[in-house]
Amino acid sequence: MSFLKFLRSKEPKASSETENRDRGILVFENTSEVIRAENALKAEGSKVRVMGPPPEIRSGCDLVIEFPLIEELKILRTLREAGVAPKEIVPVNSPLLQPVDLFQTKDFGQYLMIRAANMKLTVDRETLTIVNISGGGCPDVPYLAQEMVGKPLPESPTPREIGHTLCGYALQLAYEEMKRQCLP
């Protein structure tokens, strides 16, 4: 066995089951939208590729765009700015999975905490100030906390505006639920 083959044989390999686990699929109405979206995403440096849809996808056109799933929030912002919204977004390995839609609310009296997936947002009910953000594991979480904590809920920058990842997306859901519960 050559040295190179020896090295390769020891390298942890992603199985066919796991190799695409961190990828997502954008589904569009028609091919023209796929091309516009691909151009917009490549222009801002996203690693995307156009491919045929998996059999579980029963709507949209004959082409989909594969993208790094963790960057869903950033990708959506780019597409929104380009005026080409996807019809559907799904993980590659399990296209039938849906974003978490359960919220858990914890009442601390003066403070209210809402959790969506792995993200928690806490607000002072009297002043409506965001007092803490916890949970999450993507690098935009400490950044979002730095930009949002200490600001009033209605005036804070939103995760949708300044976040980039799925953790940011989960925080956006908690933020929207908090607004629904706390703002008139």
């Binding site: 942890p12 961190d22 399990s94 999975l97 978490v100 959790r115 007092v131 594991g137």
Partner: protein, 295 residues
């Protein structure tokens, strides 16, 4: 020696690698400083404070700026693949990095070239990548919260955001979620699950439940999970066995939280300053804790 790798929320922060020091409320490495608010700086600060009590040298930190674009993380991943092999770390903790299966696998490959193989701890984004890669069993310790445990338990989910609804993120379901994570080989050798109650578990089941002192508000405070990971990393780095380290760390983190007399608006640095006292107190009670948690 203990090494800790992660990101900081400043896109202009360069990649630094060196001894990490805590000066006031800032972590300093190679002349660069960053505030301790949450995330990897909080983990580093907790590990430094715990290490001081344990008589350990300052941990070696790998830090880079990344605000979620993944650019800093990729630079750090690349740096680790090139330099970990030549390091002699006995314990490595991977933390806030943009989850990326391909880069994770390359880093793991570099680690597996190390002799002796270090003890591996993963939390936050790197733990997500470890699970997605199917290589979770190669780690010695994961430190998830309840939402992240549900993600580990869901063999289909590529991220906690996509955890299926029937896998409820409920404190009462923790034993089931732990069992399911092990059943699908998505857990490390040990799990330290942080929550209202902290659980230490392995393939055989729950080894210890730590539920006092109870400070419900800690869940709301950003960085309290990071401090727990920092304390357990310091204990393992000092040579304590992983299972006992996890149990002791859970006690210490809760006690430090209790001494901070927190509200949901408390910031994590107020808790970190109580870690040395809490660790000294818990170490004095170590025998009692051993007996108490002998499952």
């Amino acid at each position: 020696m203990l090494a800790i790798a992660g990101t900081v929320p400043d896109k202009d922060f360069p990649l630094v690698a060196g001894e990490a020091r805590l000066k006031g409320k800032r972590i300093r490495i190679e002349g660069k400083a960053i505030s301790v608010n949450r995330g990897t700086p909080a983990l580093l600060a907790a590990a430094i404070k715990a290490g001081e009590v344990l008589g350990q040298p300052a941990p070696f930190g790998y830090l880079v700026g990344d605000i979620g674009m993944g650019d800093g993380s990729r630079r750090l991943y690349q740096y680790l693949t090139r330099h970990l092999g030549e390091s002699g770390f006995e314990t490595i903790t991977f933390h806030y990095l943009q989850p990326d299966v391909d880069w994770h696998n390359r880093v793991l490959f570099a680690v597996e070239e190390m002799a002796p193989r270090p003890i591996l701890i993963a939390d936050a984004g790197f733990m997500y990548a470890a699970k997605m890669s199917g290589e979770a069993t190669k780690y010695d310790l994961f430190t998830p919260d309840i939402g992240e445990l549900a993600f580990l338990a869901d063999e289909e989910a590529p991220h906690p955001f996509y955890t299926r609804g029937f896998i409820l993120h409920d404190e009462n379901r923790v034993p089931d979620l732990i069992a399911r994570a092990y059943e699908h080989h998505n857990a490390a050798r040990y799990l330290l699950v942080k929550g209202e109650k902290d659980y230490v578990a392995d393939q055989q089941g729950i080894l210890a439940i730590i539920d006092s002192p109870m400070e419900e508000t800690l869940e709301a405070i950003g960085g309290t999970g990071d401090t727990l990971t920092g304390i357990v990393a310091a204990l393992i780095g000092a040579g304590m066995e992983t299972r006992e380290s996890a149990i002791i760390a859970a006690h210490v983190n809760r006690l430090a939280g209790y001494y901070a007399n927190p509200t949901p608006a408390t910031q994590v640095m107020e808790i970190i300053r109580h870690i040395p006292g809490a660790l000294e107190e818990i170490l004095e009670k170590r025998e009692g804790i051993r007996e108490q948690n002998a499952v």
